[in-house]
Symmetry: C2
Subunit: 209 residues, 2 copies
């Protein structure tokens, strides 16, 4: 079959992509272990400028990596995040959980007067303790998580806070970045999304590039 | 529970988001029906500047909408795209298909000397005829689709070509935009992704905002 001129080998494409990102992105603000996470987040969105907008708490990477190695669940606010997590990279066959489609979620949303994305968190239950939380879609889910923590919910090991968009995304991420009770990762402003949140999980899950 | 100050109503959040996008984005290059698609793509990535980089063929929106109304399948290159398509918006309970995890895909990839993302397309088969194709992840899948078309594969009704990233993404989208045999939508350059591809499908599926 006559064809186009492009790289056909998946591993070579990854290698070349990460090499281009490291050439172009200014990662000087990050320790090496944190920079590896930023590289994968950039890979997911195609923008090297993202590096300027990423912040994480000093304990984020070590806490998240340790929790994953210990078998903690990955709790996701959307099916897209859950389906973006590469199962083969997870160090301990960690469960990947999304409760958005739990049949009780719509009723729960009415009861608490919040979105389904927020209400779904009520079905994480005790799994929240020591978990890696990955929020890539809904600002309301991130705000509600912070409210649950204030109300005494178990503490996760790390919170990837990457809701995207125009209403509440920037505000919810800033609120997360003010917290000292949980390790956190954010992107300031409107950028984020489920692919980026899954990429952060995938970077934490394995040091293989 | 004491809380943060944010909008709790999902419908109100959507309405406010789309209103902000229409205020801020320059959509003057697009007819109204096309602009509605760009608005949802912007919503998915948080960047109003995206509008400057979107192109679609003149027949794209009408062809894709008509095909969806007629019950065509939505063929996706990744599980994330497939899981980002809102089933309730689809006009004819359209099947949403991703063959990346088909058990035959790894073997097929070896046989054709291409990525699994590309090889998965060989299992779309006759479903390609009149389908809406949504590629949000792999440039190799988009290049391979064009090669299949050149080799006589059935023509889809529309191709959403939004692979993201650093190696082949821009090139594969430019190649698609040179085609006159299929209606197409692209974003020039590195931007794209599964959330954006799913957003385009969701915009085409229903005119409800």
């Amino acid at each position: 079959m006559a064809g186009y001129d492009y790289i056909h080998d998946g591993a070579a494409i990854y290698q070349r992509s990460f090499s281009m990102i490291r050439d172009e992105a200014d990662l000087s603000a990050f320790p090496v272990t944190d920079a590896n996470i930023v590289v994968r987040m950039i890979h997911a969105c195609g923008m090297v400028e993202l590096a300027q907008h990423v912040s994480m708490s000093a304990d984020f990477t070590s806490s998240a990596r340790q929790a994953l190695k210990g078998g903690c669940p990955v709790l996701c606010d959307s099916e897209m995040v859950a389906h973006g997590v590469t199962r083969a990279r997870l160090p301990a066959s960690n469960p990947v959980v999304c409760t958005l489609r739990d049949e009780r979620t719509p009723e729960r949303a009415k009861l608490i007067g919040n979105t389904r994305s927020a209400a779904a968190l009520d079905f994480w239950g005790e799994r929240l303790k020591g978990a890696v939380v990955a929020i890539g879609n809904a600002p309301t889910a991130l705000f509600y998580l912070l409210e649950l923590l204030d109300a005494g919910a178990p503490k996760p090991a790390a919170v990837i806070g990457l809701p995207v968009g125009f209403v509440g995304a920037a505000e919810s991420k800033e609120a997360l970045s003010q917290r000292t009770d949980v390790p956190w990762l954010i992107v300031h402003g409107r950028l984020g999304g489920s692919a980026m949140a899954a990429a952060a999980v995938n970077a934490l899950a394995s040091e293989t590039e």
